[in-house]
Amino acid sequence: MAEYILQTENLYYQYPDGTPALNGISVKIEKGKKIALLGLNGAGKTTLFLHFNGLLKPAKGKVLYNGQPIDYKHKNLIDLRKKVGIVFQDPDSQLFAATVKQDISFGPINLDLSEEQVERRVQQALEAVSIVHLQDKPTHFLSYGQKKSVSIADVLAMQPEVIIFDEPTAWLDPSSTKNIMQTFQRINQAGTTIILSTHDVDLAYNWADYIIILKNGNILGEGLPENILADDGFLQEAGLIKPTILEIYSALQANELLKKADVPRNKQDLLKMINEIRI
């Protein structure tokens, strides 16, 4: 049976001004998986994330970590935040210290580790996102992409069990996006559950094990990428477009050029299928 690291049950939340943000959301995040959360701006992705590590308290409903409901006492929240890390969308609202190394050391120091352990964690995190050369740079000298990398290292250094990335690729150039996605792959292979939100359907399709789609504070649908992102009617309702690879695949199938085969998950798979076509 699948093991769920994070769960929400019938989660309701509204902003202080009364605008409803989440309307009864129940999701299950499987341990060790790569989950993508898709949805338009204002769908409630960030609000849901802030519930995952107890930064927001639901108006109604429950959040469970490892099957246990979150207890909103200060001490327990601190424990939860050691295990569930969030990388925020805007690195400028996350970086507070004057130098890169200092900023990354903040999390491990809060874990009450020894000085050597903090140093080791910081070095590992710097290496994981390939910014060892930036360690002594002041944060305000960095470019946006570099700040983004530091904000990821910030959370990696705490070695949480789940890392949540709020639109990690927004505003990044294609090569930084590629690097960051490769980093995610490595972190995930090391056993960390990863949840990310994005508008980029192609990226989610290539990367995710499981996809959850939000709309107006509700779950519109969830499932395996090749199933959920193939349904045209559903995608239209969600305001999303079909992944390019799936689109080409279905066009090839409609023209009876492809036999029934596995659905391609990335460009390489698709090209291989096309090269094998014999007319």
Partner: protein
């Protein structure tokens, strides 16, 4: 301001312990203020300039510009000290008649102004030495060792970080406004500037909220502890600093 910050991080003596830099500049500053000697002031101004330009590697043009910054303030301020008004012309070295009274310089006034001028410049060059060689982070680290209250130090480091965030935000708003002709004439400029400032306040508030959530997410429990860089204190440098301070004190006694 930003250039100063840049030099503080990228200069030839980065590797030297901030403790030594602080001892050197603040020690000199204290002696400067405590003794009343033109000779000491002159010595300090000269040594700081030579060190900054040749040892630290600050471009001489930039340093001259920085030294001129306080001069305009100083001259205005000193005018008030040197000028005096009296009904007797004999009190003045040189004077202008103003009705029944005379406005002019007295010998005493000129002397005080002279001393103040050099003392101010000498003190400013001590502080320039500190700010051009030592990043704020390291000054904070030294203050922490000197047992300054933690709250004060955290405020210092947050303010420092957010000066740059605010400057950047203001810059972005300014660009967006001017690209839509927000600063085309004087009236529009005033109105745009007003919007910029009020918007900056709102954004600063929002940012501080965002920062708080981000800190909480990383286990913030009321204190901003971060790792500090380790430096070796060189006994040779400490020795030289003390020699220098002793020379200053001895010079002060030459009359």
């Amino acid at each position: 301001m930003i250039l100063i910050d840049k030099y503080a991080y990228c200069n030839k003596i980065q590797g030297i312990s901030p403790m030594e830099k602080v001892t050197f500049s603040i020690g000199t500053l204290i002696i400067c203020l405590a003794v009343n000697s033109l000779l000491v002031d002159g010595l300090v101004i000269a040594l700081m300039a030579l060190l900054l330009i040749f040892y630290v590697g600050i471009p001489s043009k930039f340093y001259c510009k920085m030294m001129f910054l306080p001069i305009s303030f100083l001259l205005l301020g000193l005018l008030g000290i040197a000028l005096d008004m009296s009904s007797q012309q004999s009190n003045f070295v040189s004077s202008l008649p103003l009705g029944k009274y005379y406005l002019g310089f007295t010998e005493q006034g000129l002397h005080t102004a002279n001393i103040l001028f050099f003392r101010a410049l000498a003190s400013v060059s001590c502080l320039y030495y500190l700010s051009l060689t030592t990043p704020i982070v390291e000054i904070i680290a030294v203050l922490r060792k000197a047992k300054m209250p933690e709250l004060f130090l955290e405020l210092m480091s947050l303010i420092y970080r957010f000066i740059f965030v605010l400057l950047e935000t203001a810059d972005k708003i300014y660009l967006a406004q001017s690209s839509r002709l927000g600063y085309a004439d004087l009236k529009k400029s005033y109105s745009s500037l007003g919007h910029l400032i009020s918007n900056l306040f709102i954004r600063a508030f929002k940012r501080s909220n965002d920062l708080y959530s981000a800190l909480e997410a990383r286990g913030y429990q009321g204190s901003l502890r971060v790792m500090e860089k380790k430096y070796k204190i060189s006994s040779k440098n400490i020795f030289l600093i003390f020699i220098w301070l002793i020379i200053l004190i001895l010079t002060a006694n030459i009359r």
